[in-house]
């Protein structure tokens, strides 16, 4: 018996060894198509963008290699700096507001009341509409003279606003559209999170005499934090890249008050045909998105950690 038991692992050890040498050729052919696709669709365009960013590359004139000159233009370009600021403000607001309203909506829609399913369906409708169509409708509503928003304000005695037609209010107004459209998404994610919370903590909290707010603050909120981070990440990446709504409503105006990096990039590459400089902006933009995603992922890891810590 003992010899047998000793012999089996030995045989097992020696036999698979030659098989392993043969493995790579057997699965490599299956990898190649995917590899080619990834190279052609992701890696190559990226390398090419980086290459373009190192050249003075204007449509209609010959290209010359200029090294990092395009990148050195960035810090001295006030429009680019402004665009970065606009992007950050726009992103922060369009993550925060849907998160707050979405969480509130999720708590409301988690409660049981008549017509709940129907009202939930109504609530998520903005998410299903086409951004450009939404933008056109909102443009009309924002019109200072003919729009319905100022009419509604006048009904409650408030003075008319300029909405997207004034540099100071344009970004908040655009965020309003963004919030209106994307609160439902946050609501859906958070609703899933709330539904997954067991009922026991609430029961014991009620016995201990906790109020509604305390239960939300100390039970619901910590337990849905990982979901909030997922929502924040999806919203953050979406908002930082936002183009359609801004372009359709203001095209970056008035002046350049709502020009985000994406809009500026579009102008540089496709209106000024300065592909080299445009590529440099694209590369910096990509770095910004990666950094943002990395921060959010890191924060999410930390919340997961504390959750496990709490559980243990």
């Amino acid at each position: 018996m003992s010899t047998l038991t000793r012999a089996t692992p030995a045989a097992a050890r020696t036999e698979p060894a030659p098989r392993r040498e043969w493995r790579p050729p057997s699965y490599w052919p299956f990898v190649v198509p995917a590899l080619i696709v990834v190279l052609a669709v992701i890696i190559f365009p990226w390398l090419f963008t980086i290459w373009m960013s190192l050249n003075e590359w204007k449509v209609g004139s010959p290209t010359t290699f200029v090294g990092l000159a395009n990148y050195l233009r960035l810090p001295n370009d006030p429009r680019f700096i402004e665009a970065v600021e606009h992007t950050l403000v726009y992103t922060a607001l369009s993550v925060l507001l849907p998160l707050v309203f979405g969480t509130f909506a999720a708590v409301v829609f988690h409660a049981k009341f008549p017509w709940r399913g129907f009202l939930r369906a109504i609530f998520i409708m903005p998410m299903m509409a086409t951004p450009v169509a939404i933008a056109l409708v909102w443009t009309m509503m924002f019109h200072p003279q003919l729009g319905v928003l100022n009419y509604l304000l006048s009904l409650v005695g408030l003075p008319p606003q300029l909405w997207v037609f004034h540099p100071a209010t344009v970004i908040p107004s655009l965020v309003l559209v963004e919030t209106w459209q994307w609160t439902p998404l946050v609501m859906l994610i958070v609703l899933g999170g709330i539904a997954a919370i067991p009922i026991e903590p609430y029961e014991s909290a009620q016995i201990d005499g906790a109020g509604m707010w305390q239960m939300f603050r100390y039970i619901t909120l910590p337990l849905i934090t990982p979901f909030l981070f997922i929502a924040a990440m999806i919203r953050g990446i979406d908002a930082v890249k936002s183009f359609d709504v801004i372009f359709a409503i203001t095209q970056g105006g008035p002046g350049s008050a709502s020009e985000t990096i994406n809009l500026y990039l579009y102008s540089v590459a496709f209106i000024y045909y300065d592909l080299g400089y445009g590529s440099a902006i694209a590369v910096m933009f990509f770095v910004l998105i990666i950094a943002l995603a990395a921060v959010l992922l890191y924060l999410r890891q930390r919340t997961l950690w504390t959750e496990i810590g709490l559980g243990a």
Binding site: K58, V59, G60, R79, Q145, W163, F165, P254, G255, Y273
Partner: protein, 442 residues
């Protein structure tokens, strides 16, 4: 008795003459080009969306009947059409033979890149060109746009856009205000016509960055401004520019509807057609919507006149578009026949009569028969004819036109929220000058 009899000779002569007319499609006075020589050729045309494109597409069958040339054309919204055209031309193998060119944006860029074929030779060739198509028939602005710095024709001027003053006659009468002849009078009139409580304003015009440059340059020209110095340096931050900007700022902040900083022509037109604004300065092509009962509340109440005079002169800022032939096209002669047909008297008359554009050709604009057929009000036609006399190019002829419009336009928009004109212009030009220099060096 004998006189009334129809002779065999008369019948033959008559039918021969009739035959000649039907074959040529045009009065057969002089030698006609050989229209049929390129029968069977297929042409691709890329057009910017608008009345010019519509007019071409609607009547293209007549061209095919005349020449036997098949034409495929597409209309794309202006901005996208420009992008598509530039990218395709830069590739060296454009998919089109004929291109609709926006002169005020693309002239210099296209010339420098050598994307358009030289048609000067074709214009002198009687087998290709009808006798009535001569350079001197085009207005000065048209020739300025179509010719490169060596005097070669690179396109045929198609339609010109003059800036004119539209005004609401009813509002003027109500307040007893006279039609302004100078910019100062215009400000005064606008002040009298403004009544924020009623929601009515004296003036409306483009405030949106980029779009606003076309309005501002008209003021700039009236203040005696020139765009470029002898060395090609930009001059739009000089004293004339500051004065013009002050006027622009005053009009758009004191006597214009709120939110005008975000208005393009569309929003301006909406305000004007709703009877909310009494005056509007913009391109001459908006008469059809203003006189359309389905789109306008002020049908029959619109007055048309030239842009009022400034302290240093009276000008109408002029923009325009033309038809060019891609240098890479293999069907240049056939393409030339198409361009020629598109700017012909017949097609030009249709365009003018519908109010969809104004031909660059004087023989069309000044033809009393054609004038009679114009469906727009007589005043409109008069404003066109008068503007032609004071026409001046409305934008500098440089490659980075879009950057110019964006950067200086943003400065103008900033003045609408109270920024100082001189400081804003200075800042904008510090930003723009290196861009212009870089493009001229390339």
């Amino acid at each position: 008795m004998k006189d009334h009899r129809i002779s065999r000779r008369a019948v033959l002569a008559g039918s021969a003459a009739a035959g000649a007319l039907t074959f040529s499609g045009l009065p057969a006075q002089a030698a006609e080009p050989q229209w049929k020589k390129y029968a069977g050729t297929k042409l691709e045309v890329i057009l910017a969306k608008g009345p010019r494109g519509d007019n071409l597409q609607k009547n293209i069958k007549e061209f095919t009947e005349l020449t036997g040339i098949e034409v495929e054309s597409e209309q794309i919204p202006e901005q996208q059409q420009r992008q598509k055209a530039v990218i395709e031309l830069a590739s060296g193998k454009p998919s089109f033979d004929v291109i609709h060119v926006s002169y005020h944006v693309q002239k210099r860029q296209f010339e420098k890149a050598g994307w358009l074929a030289d048609i000067s030779g074709y214009m002198k060739d009687p087998t290709l060109t009808a006798p009535d198509l001569v350079e001197s028939d085009f207005s000065a602005a048209g020739l300025q746009y179509a010719k490169n710095d060596k005097g070669r024709m690179l396109s045929l001027p198609w339609s010109v856009d003059y800036f004119i003053l539209y005004y609401n006659k009813e509002m003027f009468q109500k307040k007893g205000v006279a039609v302004p002849k100078t910019l100062d009078e215009m400000v005064e009139a606008a002040e009298k016509l403004t009544d924020p409580k009623e929601g009515t304003f004296g003036f409306v015009g483009r405030g949106l960055r980029n779009a606003n440059m076309t309005l501002w340059t008209n003021f700039y020209l009236d203040y005696g401004g020139e765009f470029l110095d002898a060395k090609g340096g930009i001059l739009t931050d000089g004293p004339e520019a500051i004065e013009a900007t002050k006027l622009y700022q005053k009009l758009l902040t004191k006597v214009a509807p709120p939110g005008v900083a975000g208005f393009n022509w569309m929003e301006s037109m909406a305000s004007f057609t709703q009877g909310r604004s009494a005056m509007w300065i913009d391109g001459v092509g908006w008469a059809p919507p203003l006189e359309d009962p389905n789109a306008s509340r002020i049908v029959g109440k619109v007055g048309y006149t030239v842009v009022p005079a400034g302290p240093k002169g009276q000008f109408s800022a002029t923009y325009g578009d033309g038809l060019g032939i891609a240098a890479a096209s293999k069907n240049k002669e056939a393409a030339y026949l198409l361009c020629q047909w598109a700017v012909s008297k017949t097609q030009g008359a249709r365009l003018l009569q519908a109010g969809g554009g104004v031909p660059f050709r004087n023989s069309i604009l000044n033809d009393p028969e054609i004038q009679k057929g114009v469906k727009m009000p007589k005043e409109w036609l008069q404003s066109v004819i008068d503007s032609a006399k004071i026409s001046k190019l409305g934008l500098p002829v440089v490659i980075p036109v879009a950057e110019f419009r964006d950067i200086v336009g943003a400065a103008l928009t900033a003045t609408l929220s109270g920024a100082d004109p001189a400081a804003e212009l200075k800042k904008a030009h510090e930003q723009y000058r290196p861009i212009l220099e870089r493009s001229e060096k390339a």
